[in-house]
């Protein structure tokens, strides 16, 4: 009986997540259509597969369906770069304060810039100089990814439960 209850809970959760996912996807596609309308790329040109990079690119997202893990590696890289930029700015500011108070300025250990491994996929289109609707479209689709992972995890759990019952 408990298993049946779990099954019903999982199904309910999947339905709720699908209700959340569908509007996000619809908005993403609508924003993409509007980006094509407003792009000024020229008639017949769309932000689509004409611009895709078929060269080797590292994946930006690490997903594990079994555990529901979702990691955006591009976001983590950008956060690290921002943290280092803030550290450098603070180090420079403290050096300035030292000079004003006529103390010996401290040696600032400059953090060497890390090579950027992941590039934003939107750079494939016009080098990243794209209209706002395309960025909004990307945001919408990105926000769908964790939901999709969760749905896949729940479906796996439902499938396992069905096998047991």
């Amino acid at each position: 009986d408990i298993k049946y209850l779990h099954l019903l809970e999982y199904i309910d959760e999947v339905e709720t997540l699908m209700d959340t996912l569908h509007p996000q996807l619809a908005q993403g596609f609508l924003s993409l259509s509007r980006a094509n309308f407003a792009s000024g790329l020229g008639i017949g040109k769309k932000f689509g597969q004409d611009y895709w990079d078929y060269g080797e690119r590292d994946s930006h997202v690490h997903v594990c369906v079994a555990t529901g893990e979702f990691r955006d590696l591009l976001q983590e890289q950008n956060d690290k770069v921002d943290e280092k930029a803030v550290e450098n700015a603070e180090a420079e500011t403290s050096g300035l304060r030292s000079r004003n108070s006529k103390l010996e300025p401290k040696k600032i250990d400059t953090v060497e810039a890390q090579p950027v491994k992941f590039k934003n996929q939107i750079r494939m289109f016009n080098g990243g100089m794209v209209p706002l609707p395309l960025r909004q479209s990307q945001q919408k689709f990105k926000s769908c990814l964790p939901i999709v992972v969760k749905i896949a995890q729940l479906r796996q759990q439902i499938s396992d439960l069905m096998d047991e019952l």
Binding site: L30, S31, R34, I43, G55, R123, N126, G127, P131, Q136
Partner: protein
């Protein structure tokens, strides 16, 4: 005086263009399109338009991509007919219009080569309005200087390469910088050419080109937010040196760091006041700026047809036709995606 002599060489062409202009869709026809339930209904409604012949030959299931490509084919056939009938200076004028599309094709091929795409896949995607014979040779792109000296020096685009040859490292951002620099040089030369035409063509085209220049400046300023590699001086180099925003406004736009700064500069020009006002706060359709410029351009197109004996009718017709195709594609996308509340976000010309 131009009225006396114009019809000798250009009377037939102007007549054909005005015929094409009468084939453009009116607001009542657009309302009929928005009431279609599916794409087959849309095709039925379009059977009374210039696109009927093209849409009747669609293989397989009707999709928005098919509709867009067939409408573009119709436009291209009409353009080709006009171009083959044209003599100087109309021929040079139409060639100048096509140079803009050539630039887009060059950039598409260079980008395709950078992205390790197959040339046979990319070439059919080029805009036929901007086709030239040596276009396929662009796949050898490694740096701009070799590309220019081996391929582009003998093409009509050669004069536009001032300021682009120093870019040796071709990555996606640099290709976009090249595109914008080419287009800036092209607009400046086209502007100089149009100033040499007889009035009213010179006046009408100057208005169009200044609008285009201003639109590009604003779009570059807006779209380059978040691109830290693009410095203020590099941005400024991509701005055309004419237009309502030329001069101090361009300096401020190049240095702007948020939308409010751009807004305050742009809205200081009286004709652009209100361009940043957003009626639709929905994140998916907040493109009021582009809509503003499209509407303004369509007003200019409509007004230009009130003038006779002018080569500018060709440009006006082409822009209005492109807008019509954009509108039809948007309506088709909304029908296909079942987003009926957004159907009316098109710009009617007449």
């Amino acid at each position: 005086m131009e009225g006396v002599l114009f019809n000798i060489d250009f009377g037939y062409l102007e007549g054909v263009v005005r015929g094409y202009r009468n084939g453009l869709m009116t607001s009542s026809q657009y309302i009929n399109l928005t009431q279609c339930d599916n794409l087959d209904d849309l095709k039925l409604q379009l059977s009374a338009s210039d696109y009927a012949a093209g849409l009747n030959n669609v293989p397989g299931q009707l999709t928005t991509a098919n509709i867009q490509s067939k409408t573009n084919e119709t436009l291209f056939k009409q353009w080709e007919y006009l171009r083959q009938q044209a003599v100087e200076p109309m021929a040079s004028f139409m060639d100048y219009i096509s140079y803009g599309y050539m630039i887009d094709n060059v950039v598409l091929l260079i980008t395709g080569t950078l992205h390790e795409r197959d040339l046979a896949e990319i070439l059919p995607r080029c805009n036929p309005l901007g086709w030239f014979d040596t276009l396929p040779a662009l796949s050898i792109a490694t740096d701009m200087e070799s590309l220019y000296s081996t391929v582009l020096v003998d093409t009509p685009l050669a004069p536009f390469f001032k300021g682009c040859l120093s870019i040796s490292d071709l990555d996606e951002l640099n290709v976009e910088v090249i595109r914008n620099t080419l287009y800036k040089n092209y607009l400046e030369l086209f502007h100089a050419f149009c100033n040499g035409l007889a009035d009213p063509a010179a006046t009408i085209m100057t208005r169009f080109l200044e609008l285009e220049a201003d639109r590009r400046v604003i779009n570059i300023a807006l779209n380059s937010f978040g691109i830290s590699e693009l410095e203020k001086a590099e941005k400024k180099k991509m701005f055309p040196d004419f237009g309502a925003l030329a001069g101090f406004a361009q300096d401020q736009l190049a240095a702007a760091e948020d939308v409010d700064q751009i807004r305050s500069v742009v809205e200081s020009i009286s004709s652009y006041r209100g361009c940043f006002d957003s009626d639709d706060t929905d994140a998916g359709t907040s493109t009021n700026l582009e809509d503003f410029f499209y509407k303004l351009e369509m007003d200019y197109c409509r007004n230009s047809f009130t003038q006779q004996f002018s080569v500018s009718v060709v440009y006006s017709w082409l822009r209005a036709k492109e807008q019509e195709i954009r509108n039809i594609t948007w309506i088709a996308e909304c029908i296909a995606q079942n987003q009926r509340e957004k159907l009316n976000n098109y710009i009617s010309v007449f």
